[in-house]
């Protein structure tokens, strides 16, 4: 287990939105849906667009604005092409009004 890093206050990730933070060497998007947080690589595996910039959240999936790749925010799995590689996902938790993300190994 890596050390969790505090990335934001809870109110900085509003319901139905995704916001990106730098965690270690990664750009990590944190999204909130129905109150739950999801953390995943902000970089689309197809052409490296930032998912948090214009990405559309639908349920627990996010669609890249550039070329329509859609990923599960929960597992990183590709749900719609053109992407073929899954997103990395990260462990995220909320403690005392702060959002914590565990950096990649």
């Amino acid at each position: 287990m890596g050390e969790f890093v505090t990335v934001a206050r809870s109110d900085e990730v509003a319901e139905g939105t995704a916001t990106a933070f730098v965690v270690g060497d990664d750009e990590v998007a944190v999204a909130r849906v129905d109150g739950d947080l999801y953390a995943f690589s902000d970089i689309c595996t197809h052409r490296h667009c930032n998912l948090s910039m214009g990405g559309e959240i639908d349920g627990t999936s996010i669609e890249c604005e550039c070329h329509g790749s859609r990923f599960s925010m929960e597992t990183g799995e590709v749900l719609n092409p053109p992407a073929t590689e899954p997103l990395a996902t990260f462990t995220v938790r909320e403690v005392d009004g702060q959002i914590h993300v565990e950096p990649a190994e």
Binding site: R47, G54, E56, E63, E65, H67, G68, P81, P82, T84
Partner: protein
Amino acid sequence: MTPRTFTIVGASLAGATAAATLRDEGFDGRIVLIGGEERLPYERPGLSKGFLRGEEQVDDLLVRPPSWYEEQDIDLRLGVMAERLDPSARSIELSDGDPVGFDAALIATGARNRRLPVPGIDLDGVLDLRTVADAETIRRRAADAGRIAVVGMGFIGAEVSASLRTTGVDVTVVEPFETPMYRALGAQAGQVVAQIHADHGVKMRLGESVDRFEGDGALRAVVTELGEEIEAQVAVVGVGVQPNAEIWPLELAADGGIPVGPDLQSEIPGVFAAGDVASHDHPFFGRIRVEHFDNAIKMGEAAARNMLGASRVFDDPHWFWSDQYDVQIQTVGRADDDARIVMRGALEDRSCCWFALNEQGVLRSATSIAWPRDVRRAIKLVQAQARPDPEALADPGVDLRTLMPEGGG
């Protein structure tokens, strides 16, 4: 029992995607993937965009990483041309080597660039764009010359102009229509695209055709039908394509493609076509041949599933985009000639989305210029053949996802 052989002709986006879908769906027979180019399947959109600007490398374009083909046990035959499909022997004759038999086959041979039938087309410096090698040549020679002529302002001409202009190359366009991208966008929106290019310093001779290319061995000038000479050592010609359908032993469709039914299967049982070469009997749009990226993926996937017996109608409404400077243009579907157009935003603002409805009020297409999200949101509406309220379509405050018919989606 002998394992089945599925042969895919065309190591293309559609072909490689089909191979991947076959494996994803559990097909463990033999997959032969035949490609004319000596390259692993790659995506072409970047060739007129990031790759042409020098921002992307070949590895960025690959449909699957090199190791994938071995991991998935794909019998890859690159640098080999498929010459003819023999329907009675159920085999593909190759330019090199023994014929390859098949239990099911997919033809995904794409298209090639149309040649402009004018004098001087063979001069050194008269180029076109289809392959990685073409893009590398254009990039290098445009940079050396510092200026180019672009012949044809469709998707390829418009994107090549934007990309090279962005890298500082002087660009002059010759286009027979009065506006760029006329076939895709029509005159009014094309006018906006013309303004965007003019703002970036592209010179355009609109409503003018090329009479000839002049030079002694190497290009010196492009001469228009009005007699105007455009000095250039390099010209890029983008005047449409024709399908690579020579392999097909039966009659072709009127659009030059291989005729396939709603399920992408041809009149030869077990033989399918996908991508640019497929003349598809689309359930909403009638017979249509689409030359775009997303369609090649979606057709490749659908054809693979139907090769395995899914028997599903392919009703994807076709989505595509074009990037020029910082402007993205998107379209889903296809507008009828007599369509009613509903505008969201304003063309004058160069940021808008418009919708085409048919006589019955069914949404047939959506197109946007520098207007995020709404075309993607309209995909499901077009696919559901929805009849959204035109006032709601025109109102930017209405989320298109709320216009889905009951029980749809």
